[in-house]
Amino acid sequence: MSNTTESWGSRVGLILAMAGNAVGLGNFLRFPVQAVQNGGGTFIIPYLVSFLLMGIPLLWVEWAMGRFGGRYGDHSTPFILDNMTKKRFWKYFGVFGIFTNMGVMAYYTYIESWTLTYTLKSLKGDFLGMDLDGLDSFFNNYVDLGSGINFPVWALLAFLITLSINVYILSRGLSAGIEKVAKIAMPLLIGFGAFLAIMSWTTGSTGRCADCSTYIGLNYLWQPDFSTLANPKIWLAAAGQIFFTLSVGMGTIHCYSSYLKQKDDIALNAMSAGWMNGFVEIVLGSAVVIPIAVGYLGLDWVVDNAGFMMAFKTMPFLFDQWGSVLSVIAGVAWFGLLFFAGITSSLAMGTPWMGFVQDEFNWSKNKSALILGLAILAMGLPTIFFFEKGVFDEYDYWTGTVSLVIFALAEVILFAWVFGMDKGWKEITDGADMRVPRFYRPIIKYITPLFIGIIFLTSLFKPLNGELSDWSSAFNSWVNGNGWPWANDSIINQVFHINTGVQWVQDGILTNMFYIDMSRFFLLACFFGLVAMVKVASNKRKKTA
């Protein structure tokens, strides 16, 4: 428990910081790819349903939990959760709310550093006249791909600079650091996104190939295919996207909201920040990558190549088609908006740690930020050196995917069933500047936990391909004694390497699995290191009580 004097400067600043926390690289790179892979225009229906039944309830729950914890002087999830129940083990679930952020921040800051480098390179005009092969080899050289174990000097330097920027801003505190950045970054991000969206909407046919038109790209993204609505895979993809885009299940929302007083609104703030994120994702995010790529490379190329790396390996080539001046402006706008989207999120990821060590160990802001920086450096280096070995993806899977679902499931059960909906509903509606629809009470109690529970169970037991028919054939196979055909990305297969078996050495050389498993042990060690810190803090509290 702390005697912190930290506070937000203004309500608009808080909403921009909270929206900045949610708006990330995924709004521009993950959402459009998910949409085209899952029914095009129809994807938006399960997406909006998931937003209403899972996204909004989780936002309200997390805002309410944070403000409740702040009343007792707690600004990180272990002790926010601890205040809500007499059962002491819940505070260890709260460790996820610090661990997830640090794990994600470790590799996210690395991607953020790419966007910083690419912004400066775009400004210098280094990408002018470069074709797709040139961009591909530039990127591979930059992150030093091709040698097995990477030692990318410039990428490392950019990572250190980006991490230092994050550390400096975090050391300035909430209103002088994070809020000030959000007030500058969010309007710029929206402005850059709007510029690129307008370019995309007005380009139309480019004549480079028969189907080279941004309108064909937009059509591809928005053409509904209602037959896909019966496919649970589409619903899971949409629910997953809502999770990632709102940054729920991470602990950052609790932390930001814990600096609010009981009489101040959370319900309207949560809605405003949530819909602002939706605007950036649905209106701006859908207008840039896919339509512009179809406009210059055609639909077939996009179908074959749509993915995260298009941001770096494709976009500068596309902007180059607009002429040298517009190319530089668009390059700076694109990578600048990705950098702003990244830094407003990575700053949020740093705050649960900051709140925790300041509350429990009375560390100064500078000391807390510096030690966070060193910890992120230690956690981030394996993702850089062993990028090609799959360590980067492994961090993303466990900290950026699985942990979010586990923590969100735990927190909604705690809030609705242990803390209780009577108290919970009062927490959400206290000080509200809007009328919170009463039907959300049963939704929070029954539908949201069920929704997240289904996501978790299907991720745990996902069969090969994951289509509806695959579940029934997998069940038949299991009943007939032929075993369960695991999907490679199901959690159980990931843990036990069922499909491949454990093989750390092959022909005297360490396999990728060795590096992946070592990174898992490292992440586990980090998690239990945080558990130990929570235990020490808890003992300290008992002594002073």
Binding site: W8, L218, Q223, P224, Y259, K261, K263, D433
Partner: protein, 45 residues
Amino acid sequence: MTTSALIMIILTQGTVIAATIYFFRKVLKSPDKSEPDSYSDNDPV
């Protein structure tokens, strides 16, 4: 663009833009709570 894609894009983006503006405007128009509130910028000096 096909008509159905056009309808999807207009309906969806229209809804999202309207909701974003509505809630943000509501935030701006809501009166401040009495001091001491959560925000330092409006503290009496």
